[in-house]
Structures are given as C-alpha cells and as structure tokens.
C-alpha cells in the first residue's frame, strides 16, 4: 500500500446473507478502481469468513419489513410476508433460496467465491480478536486469504487516513 493511495476499510459486523454483500460489492468496485481495501470482520460478521458457515448464510423473513410477496413472484403490491408465517419451519431456508436464486440470475457470485476474488485482487482481510476469543475460534476456522486476527487498536493503526464504512 502506498501512502498517498485512496484506502477504504469496511467493518463487517453482520452475518446475514443480505448483509454480506455490501462490503463485497463495494470492495470489489474499489479494487477495480485502484483503491486499497481492508475488511475487518467482527461479531456476526465472522460468519462470512468462517469456513463452516460461509456457504450457509441465511436471510430470515421475520421482522424484515422490506420482504414483500412480490419478491416471490406473487404480485400483491405492498403485502409483506406475515411475521406469523415467517416463524414456520423452513421459511428462512425458503427466503434464503429465493435470494440466492435471484443473485445467481444476475451473475453475482456466492460469498465464498466473492471473498476469494477480493483476496486475489489485493484486499486485506482481518478477524476481530475480541469476537474470535468470545466465539472460541482460531485462524484454522477461517477461509483462505484471512491475513490475521487483530485487535481494535491494530485496526485503527492500519486504517489511518482511510475511509471507514461500518456494515
């Protein structure tokens, strides 16, 4: 990394499938434009780099006011998926499949592949030490390309002058 180059850092704190994508999409765009990229995974965000979890991220229809029936191809306008229905077994899996299919249709790669693209493009990935300790994880649990487990202080040092986006 050069001193004068633009640098964007993302803090990924969420492990839901829909919340995995913002940093991936923007990070990839940044790399494509020659901007340095650092991604710090903390708390639930660790699911995105957890080798056992990354292929099983989900989106739950309960308490998601944006999830409308029209997303399932039923043209009911503003009618949402009732929360009461959302609690039925299989509804989260159903919503997840729906989203994955839609992503696939517009040629958005799955999270694991997307992360690899970012690593290959030069992004630096780090796991948050406190969350790692709390969840009793280690470097062995993470996908390839994660550089290190670092403290919040380390993150501050490595993102001096960077633009930081919290997700």
């Amino acid at each position: 990394m050069t001193e004068d180059n633009r640098h964007i850092a993302f803090i990924c704190s969420k492990g839901n499938l829909d919340m995995a994508y913002p940093a991936l999409v923007m990070g990839w765009a940044a790399l494509g434009n020659g901007i340095d990229v650092t991604i710090f995974f903390t708390f639930w965000g660790l699911d995105l780099i957890n080798d056992k979890r990354v292929d099983h991220l989900e989106i739950a229809p309960v308490a998601n006011t944006s999830m409308k029936m029209t997303m399932m191809g039923i043209d009911t306008g503003n009618l949402g998926i009732p929360n009461l229905m959302g609690v039925l077994p299989g509804m989260t899996a159903f919503a997840t499949k729906l989203m994955k299919d839609k992503m696939d249709k517009i040629e958005v790669p799955p999270v694991r592949e997307y992360l690899q693209m970012l690593v290959d493009g030069g992004a630096k990935l780090y796991a948050c030490k406190m969350s790692v300790d709390m969840m009793e994880l280690s470097m062995d649990d993470f996908v390839e390309g994660v550089q290190d487990i670092v403290t919040a202080g380390d993150f501050m040092d490595m993102t001096e002058g960077a633009q930081v986006i919290f997700i």
């Binding site: 990839w28 765009a29 040629e107």
Partner: protein, 105 residues
C-alpha cells in the same frame, strides 16, 4: 469531450479519457494509451484480455466487467490485477478503446 492524439492519430475521448468511438481504436493506439496508464509493454496476456473485451463489446454493446473477463477469457483475477495494476476496471476498458463497464461485479 476533447480530442487527444494517440499514436499520431487524433481521437475523441470523454471527460474520463475513454474513447468516444470504439471504431477509432487500433493496436497502435492501445499501446500508446497503455503507456499513459503506466503499462510499459503489452504482452500476449494483455492482448488476450483486450481481444476478449473487444469481442464481448461487439456482441453485447458494452465493455465486460472484471468478473466477466476472468470467467470468459481464462485469465485469473490475480493475473488480471497484475497485468493492469491499480484499477484494472477502467484501465482494461480504456486500453481496449471501450466505455466504462456498466456492471457491478
């Protein structure tokens, strides 16, 4: 819009430096644009990427995204970033004489 001279030929470029008319493009112009983008020499691997992009643009009407390039041309992401360092998305399109890629991936 302004006119720039690449390889002795005047061509129109937009405010970001992309060729306005892909038909103005030639291999000589590509070499000259690449040099201005910091790529001293266009190797066979560079040409493979450029030819793929030109081909794609002819078929689809727009410059391919980085992922479309890697999945379609057989060049890996690592290679692509090494061939066109510091911002391959714009550099590839510029050197190939195309507009900015329109996709996000």
């Amino acid at each position: 819009m302004e006119t720039l001279v690449f390889a002795g030929q005047s061509v129109e470029v937009n405010e970001e430096g992309f060729l306005v008319n892909p038909g103005d493009w030639s291999k000589e112009i590509a070499v000259d644009i690449a040099r201005q983008e910091g790529i001293e020499e266009l190797t066979d691997a560079h040409w493979k990427v450029i030819e793929f992009c030109r081909q794609q643009a002819t078929e689809t009407g727009s410059a391919p995204t980085l992922r479309q390039i890697t999945t379609g041309s057989g060049i890996t992401t690592k290679e692509l970033f090494a061939l066109f360092p510091k911002g391959p998305a714009k550099k590839v399109a510029k050197v190939s004489g195309l507009g900015k890629p329109e996709g996000c991936v």
